[in-house]
């Protein structure tokens, strides 16, 4: 990936949505849309032709209008580790994120279409995923946080503050972004994360994997 430009292939069968997302991407200086597709075969062809740094794709597209985007994302990640995939969805159930992350969350992002419009938020997701990180729409994390309050399980061992930090990890934020979001010092965030990893028995893994593991635990619990 070049240091300056993120080459993007955009796939969505709705011309309206494509136009909107294209406008969003145009507002992000680093991103450059090199091709558009409105079906799974077209997406596959465009990825083969342009070898993009990032694919931004709808979930339901022709031919079957079911889970084309999720299947494409997992296939692209398996074939082209250098290409990130940001999935656009109208579904706010975390279960879709788990389907997407079934083989790991690196280089994958999940953004709700209904939330797109905040350029800064969208830019963060685009950059994170193109750089091989992951990103999950904050609304989905909110759904989980609000549903979780009374449940048992390893996550019940976390303090409310630690749960907030974990939710931010699941969104794909780095320590600096978490510190900004929760109005904490980066050092305090680091301490919380250490405590979370210990409570979730993630001690042995390297930091990136710990973060992914913790995020998946959070999403699936």
């Amino acid at each position: 990936m070049g240091t300056d430009t993120i080459r993007v292939v955009l796939a969505d069968d709705s011309p309206l949505i494509r136009a909107g997302v294209k406008a969003m991407l145009a507002a992000i200086d680093e991103a450059d849309v090199v091709a558009e597709a409105e079906s799974l075969p077209e997406l596959e062809a465009a990825v083969a032709e342009h070898a993009p740094d990032l694919v931004v794709t709808d979930i339901r597209m022709p031919p079957t209008h079911t889970d084309e985007g999720i299947r494409a994302a997992r296939a692209i990640r398996a074939d082209r580790p250098e290409c990130g995939v940001l999935v656009l969805s109208q579904f706010s159930e975390p279960e879709y994120v788990l389907l997407l992350f079934a083989d790991g969350s690196d280089g994958l992002g999940y953004v709700l279409k209904q939330g797109i419009g905040d350029v800064a938020e969208f830019r963060r997701a685009v950059l994170a995923v193109a750089a091989g990180g992951s990103s999950v729409d904050p609304e989905i994390i909110d759904v989980l946080v609000s549903a979780r309050s009374l449940e048992a399980g390893p996550l019940s061992r976390l303090t409310p503050r630690e749960t907030e930090v974990l939710a931010a990890i699941a969104e794909g934020l780095n320590n600096g972004a978490i510190a900004d979001k929760l109005v904490l010092s980066e050092k305090a965030v680091g301490k919380h994360i250490g405590s979370i990893f210990a409570k979730l028995d993630l001690g042995g893994l390297d930091d990136v994997h710990k973060r992914v593991k913790a995020a998946l635990l959070f999403l699936s619990s």
């Binding site: 309206l16 339901r60 079911t66 109208q90 579904f91 389907l99 279409k113 419009g117 759904v143 309050s149």
Partner: protein, 408 residues
């Protein structure tokens, strides 16, 4: 005192379904009566002729000539009964068959008391013939007639050691005639037995056939409705929802704060459509199966304790039935037991897929009217269409537990 209500068991369905063939002819029809009348007439004719020949050649007893005469009358009556049944007068025809046979037995036993054992069979035949054709009330009159005739021939025949009009008949001839008479009944009795058996088998096959057809058509109706719901959900998703999303996106891109209330309205409309879609057809169910779809549904209904085993994928019909049952149960709990602890569990137990939704709310008395019988009927119908069972267990103050099961 826990009350139980059982809906949708396969046996109950079949019993119900066989009752729905209202347009079909009920009862075995006229053919058995017609055939019996003919065969009985032939037997009586043969018996009359045989007795006539024996009397002409061996016995030569004037009184015996009365027997062929009585037989001839019986044959005539049976042929009339045949015409009557073909004209649709079933009860009258049966009554004539019975009365003519019974009158014949009284005369024959009066003449030849040692023929009593043979005539007992003759008395019983019309009664057995009538069983499948009559209602209980009419049949009881036939029973009275048969018993009265038996009493009459018993009084005439038992205790008499004379030969009746044939005073000096040899014992061996008596035996031959009795055996021949008993054997002669084999044909009409055989006919009744065979026809009754055939009718029973046909009726059972028809009922099973009808049950299978109705269960198929019920399944097809549910499948068609589900396909239609999927289509509607897709139209909402790809139509109205997409348009609203693109409008909201375009408005947000303007970066104009005064548009925020408008965007808020659009977001509200999108939420409404999304909520509507969930109740219509959940795409997550098709994509990921029951545990994920039920988890998402439970989450929308607040904090709910989940124990969802990875039960794998099942038939589309089974997954739909279980999902909508679970949804209905969650909605019932939210409506009738707000603020209670609700739990949902899904597992495969003994090769049966089982979904249990329970709450610790106020419960209800299932022996009186169910609080939301339409919802429960929906659940029972859904499960019935896949041959599953629904068990609703509740009592006032003891919460409500809804269990759905199907073989898998």
């Amino acid at each position: 005192m826990t009350g139980l209500a059982f809906y949708g068991s396969p046996m109950a369905n079949q019993t119900l379904i066989t009752g729905l063939g209202g347009s079909r002819t009920v009862g075995p029809g006229v053919a058995p009566i017609r055939d019996f009348a003919v065969l009985d007439a032939i037997s009586a004719g043969i018996a009359g002729v045989a007795i006539l020949i024996v009397n002409l050649t061996v016995v030569s007893e004037p009184g015996v000539y009365l027997v062929p005469v009585v037989m001839a009358v019986l044959v005539g009556a049976l042929l009339v009964a045949r015409r009557m049944v073909l004209a649709g007068h079933v009860i009258a025809s049966l009554a004539l068959i019975a009365a003519s046979n019974w009158a014949t037995t009284i005369v024959v036993v009066g003449l030849l008391p040692w023929l009593l054992p043979v005539m007992v069979l003759t008395v019983l035949m019309p009664l057995v013939l009538a069983i499948p054709h009559l209602d209980a009330r009419a049949l009881s009159w036939f029973l009275v007639g048969a018993v009265a005739t038996l009493v009459a021939i018993g009084l005439l025949g038992i205790g008499r050691d004379d030969g009746g009009v044939v005073d000096d008949i040899a014992d061996e001839w008596e035996l031959v005639v009795i055996v021949a008479g008993l054997a002669g009944h084999a044909a009409p009795i055989g006919l009744i037995v065979w026809q009754a058996n055939r009718q029973h088998r046909e009726a059972t096959e028809d009922a099973l056939d009808l049950a299978a057809q109705l269960s198929d058509s019920r399944r097809r109706l549910v499948e068609a409705a589900d396909a239609e719901r999927t289509r509607i959900e897709r139209n909402l998703h790809d139509g109205a929802q997409q348009r609203l999303i693109s409008v909201a996106m375009a408005l947000r891109l303007r970066g104009d704060d005064s548009l925020q209330p408008l965007i808020g309205e659009i977001e509200g409309a999108m939420d409404d459509i999304r909520e509507l879609s969930h109740g219509i057809s959940p795409p997550l169910l098709e994509l990921s199966g029951l545990p994920a779809a039920l988890a998402a549904a439970a989450r929308r209904h607040g904090s709910i304790e989940l124990d969802l085993a990875d039960v794998g994928r099942h038939d589309r019909g089974i997954e739909n039935a279980f999902y909508f049952c679970g949804l209905e149960a969650l909605q019932n709990a939210a409506k009738h037991a707000p603020n209670s602890a609700v739990s949902v569990s899904l597992a495969v137990v003994d090769d049966r897929l089982r979904l249990v939704v329970s709450d610790d709310g106020p419960g209800f008395d299932p022996t009186s009217a169910a609080p939301d019988s339409r919802g429960m009927t929906n659940m029972a119908d859904r499960l019935g269409s896949i041959g599953g069972d629904l068990l609703i267990s509740s009592a006032p103050g003891a919460g409500t537990t809804i269990t759905a099961e199907v073989s898998c």
